[in-house]
């Protein structure tokens, strides 16, 4: 118990340090390596200082980003697979491997075979059973008895048969072979369990589980009642289970990561495209401007939620496909108007005219000269965009046209909450609180950013 508290504190302290100091430092370093100055201009520095002075927005930002950074390491905190498992001198780190296996192109597997950890069979180790046996080695003797019975039975049925003669029928030979294999298998199993009993009994096996030893896809089979289970403290199921028997707390934290990552990706890619298109419109003007504005207008008239639902019903999108759909149909559109306006204004200014006159290429003028001066709408828009994209993902999941079934998501929890509104209120309360708190914090960030980057001064006479 005490180490769990220490672990939890450690997670938050490390997450905070990572978010506050290490990550910014790394970003600056990488930026410098890539040739950026990575030093704010006086205006930006003033804006950042103003943002920091707006406490509610700043602390929401620190809180949300810390939680998101921590959630990047969720496999090490909330996972069925243990941090360390040791059996008879063999040590494995399944949780770390599980985390690494999510990084593309590394090809790391977190699979550990049962046989290697004192459990007969070739499938994935049952870590919960392993822990139970570590805590109570007596458990294995009952299993040993069962294995012995099984072995005896296989032995008897095998011994009944005689070795078939070479000219015996094919059927007899086959029967003999299967019984022999069965006998040998059960014998090996029994021997394995005997070894296991010795290892567990001698205390040469131990396990260090994660903070909350359940995965997004694992079912709470330890609970006595049928799912959905209400939250119970004594069974350590703090937020209950879904209708499928999955732990709501786990769904919630993994859903947080997916939602924020999704929204960030959609915003980043969409705004990248939107800034390019808007910049082109504002910079070149003329027929490019008119034609692409019409296209944006036409594209914006598509009822986007309905269209995504229709497409999702046909292609059953995964995470990346859904990001692409939302970018293409929605997120690049709104920003173009503002960026276009900014570029339009900036282009007529002297410094741009001077750059044009001295023969700087269009691309360089757009990216190096104008863009840094017209980034304000993008920055002020992003938090509200993120709110919108999180809501979109939740809505799509809620309607059943979002991420594939089985993916942890808040929308899916809400859907189950609607279906069980009479008797399982926690299925609505928990996702709603999580959603409202997250979105509220992001809105606070957005308010503060807007206040800092684009302050409105209202002067009243009276």
């Amino acid at each position: 118990m005490i180490w769990k508290i220490i672990y939890l504190v450690l997670v938050f302290v490390l997450g905070w340090l990572l978010t506050k100091f290490i990550l910014p430092w790394m970003i600056v370093r990488i930026g410098r390596l890539l040739g950026f100055r990575m030093r704010p201009t006086p205006i930006t520095a003033r804006r950042l200082a103003r943002f920091r002075s707006i406490k509610r927005g700043y602390w929401s930002f620190v809180g949300i980003s810390t939680l998101f950074v921590i959630s990047m390491f969720l496999e090490l905190i909330v996972n069925e697979k243990p941090l360390i498992i040791s059996y008879d001198g063999r040590v494995a780190v399944p949780a770390l491997n599980d985390w690494a296996s999510k990084i593309p192109f590394l090809g790391i597997s977190s699979f550990e075979k049962k046989e290697d950890f004192g459990q007969p069979g070739g499938s994935e180790v049952d870590y919960h059973l392993f822990q139970e046996i570590v805590e109570n080695p007596g458990l294995i003797s009952t299993e040993l008895q069962a294995a012995k019975k099984k072995m005896d039975r296989a032995e008897r049925s095998f011994k009944k048969l005689k070795e078939p003669a070479p000219d015996a029928t094919e059927r007899k030979k086959k029967r003999f072979a299967t019984r022999k294999a069965m006998y040998e298998r059960s014998k090996a199993q029994y021997a394995g369990l005997q070894d296991a009993e010795a290892v567990f009994g001698a205390g040469r096996a131990w396990i260090l589980p994660t903070l909350y030893p359940w995965s997004a896809k694992s079912h709470r089979e330890d609970l006595k009642a049928n799912p959905p289970n209400s939250p119970t403290l004594e069974e350590k199921c703090f937020l209950g289970t879904t209708t499928g028997g999955r732990d709501v707390l786990v769904q919630l934290v993994y859903g947080f990561r997916i939602s924020i990552a999704f929204a960030l990706l959609v915003a980043a890619v969409g705004y990248f495209i939107g800034v390019l298109v808007g910049g082109m419109q504002g910079y070149y003007g003329g027929w490019i401007d008119i034609a692409s504005q019409r296209i944006v207008e036409i594209w914006g008239s598509i009822p986007f939620l309905f269209t995504i639902m229709i497409l999702a019903a046909m292609i059953q999108p995964g995470f990346w496909m859904l990001v692409i759909l939302l970018v293409v149909l929605r997120s690049w559109l709104g920003i173009t108007f503002y960026v276009r306006g900014e570029f339009y204004r900036e282009k007529s200014k002297d410094y741009v005219q001077a750059a044009i006159a001295s023969g700087v290429s269009d691309w360089k003028i757009i990216t190096k000269h104008i863009l840094p001066n017209s980034i304000v709408p993008v920055v002020t828009f992003a938090p509200f965009g993120i709110v919108a994209y999180i809501s979109s993902l939740v809505s799509l999941d809620y309607l059943g046209f979002g991420l594939p079934p089985g993916t942890p998501s808040w929308g899916d929890l809400l859907k189950q909450g609607l279906e069980n509104v009479q008797h399982h209120p926690y299925l609505i309360i928990t996702p709603v609180v999580a959603l409202a708190a997250t979105l509220f914090a992001v809105v606070m960030i957005g308010e503060a950013v807007r206040e800092a980057f684009d302050p409105k001064v209202f002067s009243r006479l009276r």
Partner: protein, 362 residues
């Protein structure tokens, strides 16, 4: 004014172009997608055949449909023609071989036939209008009644405790989607979880509403209707609550800082008159312009809220049609949605030109 008329004419001319581009894309997607209408019909027939076989006992189900049936279905959905031709048939500018070679399509008011509802698509869609309009209209009016006074108060009490406190409510309203609010309300006031089972869990009216109405129980009927309206109404209001309130507040604050207000104060007009006659009139302009956008919501409803509260309007129709792959209805709803949105945009411009004489469109 001449420039303005030509502006609107140009905008109106853009509507068919936009309409054709979008609907063509969606039509093409429908045609190319797996599990299209033919597949759906085949599955349905298989199911029916299997059901009969199960009832009859033993005999194996049919192999789907005969070649002839397939042909007729293909012809009905114009699948035997290339996509552009099929689209033109759907639009009504190419002879429809199914209708005896006559022109028959959306342009002529023929949206096709829905097998799911056993009725023409247009009738199916129009039959959902009253419910959606009811909630859309009431929700919109209610949000005006709440947001405009609240926005005015917030502007007048800018940077006071009242402002801060209501800002929290507004931001909370902004962060919680309408359907989530509906869920919370249903949980709190629609079930007995907290001992406050005051409102029904969903539906537009009670099932015996029409009977009671015929019996002359008007009071009961009104009470029942109000009961069913409460939760969805708040959910609908949530959609525009935050943006409209903040819009109202900011626009009034802008105007209060403007020179003409300063002048009005300076020449000694009473504060009430300056604020409520001079400044308020101008700051209502952005709110009025929002009417165009509301048209879409008025007719199309909201999938999320209608699904959550099981209101049988356009949104729920779209949702169930999607689940059942009722393509003609889906295309019909999309068509309506697009047209309403395009017209709404133009309506916004017209309203802006009407209420704000300074505006000149080029």
């Amino acid at each position: 004014m001449h420039g303005m008329t030509s502006y609107f004419i140009r905008r109106l001319m853009l509507v068919p172009v936009t309409f054709i581009i979008i609907t063509f894309m969606i039509y093409a997607v429908f045609r190319m997608a797996p599990g299209g209408p033919i597949e759906q019909a085949r599955v349905q027939m298989l199911k029916a055949a299997a059901g009969e076989a199960g009832g009859g006992g033993g005999e194996s189900g049919g192999t789907g449909m005969t070649e002839e049936e397939r042909k007729s279905l293909e012809e009905y959905y114009q699948l035997d023609k290339p996509i552009p031709i099929g689209y033109l048939v759907w639009l009504g500018f190419w002879p429809n071989s199914h209708k005896g070679g006559k022109l028959s399509g959306v342009f002529w008011g023929d949206f096709g036939y829905s097998n799911e509802h056993s009725a023409p698509v247009l009738d199916t869609i129009i039959s959902k209008f009253p419910v959606s309009i009811y909630f859309g209209l009431i929700g919109y009016i209610a949000s005006w009644l709440v947001c405009i006074p609240l926005g005015i108060f917030k502007a007048l009490k800018h940077r006071t405790h009242f402002d801060t406190l209501t800002s929290i409510v507004v931001f909370l309203g902004y962060s919680v989607p309408g359907f989530v609010a509906a869920l919370v309300l249903m949980l709190t006031f629609g079930t007995n979880n907290f001992g406050m089972d005051w409102f029904p869990l969903g539906g537009f009216r009670s099932e015996n509403w029409n009977v009671m109405w015929d019996q002359g129980e008007f009071w009961w009927c009104i009470k029942d209707q109000v009961h069913h309206t409460f939760i969805p109404l708040i959910a609908y209001m949530m959609a525009s609550f935050a943006t409209m309130t903040i819009l109202m507040k900011n626009s009034l604050l802008d105007n209060l800082g403007a020179d003409y207000v300063r002048t009005a104060f300076a020449k000694g007009l009473p504060e009430r008159r300056v604020i409520f006659i001079h400044a308020l009139r101008n700051s209502l302009i952005p709110i009025c312009v929002g009417i165009g956008g509301a048209i879409g919501l008025l007719f199309a409803g909201s999938f999320l809220i209608e699904k959550t509260c099981t209101i049988d309007g356009m949104g729920l129709l779209g949702y169930t049609s999607l689940l059942k792959r009722d393509y003609p209805v889906l295309l019909g709803i999309l068509t309506f949605g697009i047209v309403l949105r395009l017209l709404g945009n133009i309506l916004s411009d017209i309203v802006l030109a009407l209420v704000d004489p300074r505006v000149r469109f080029q």
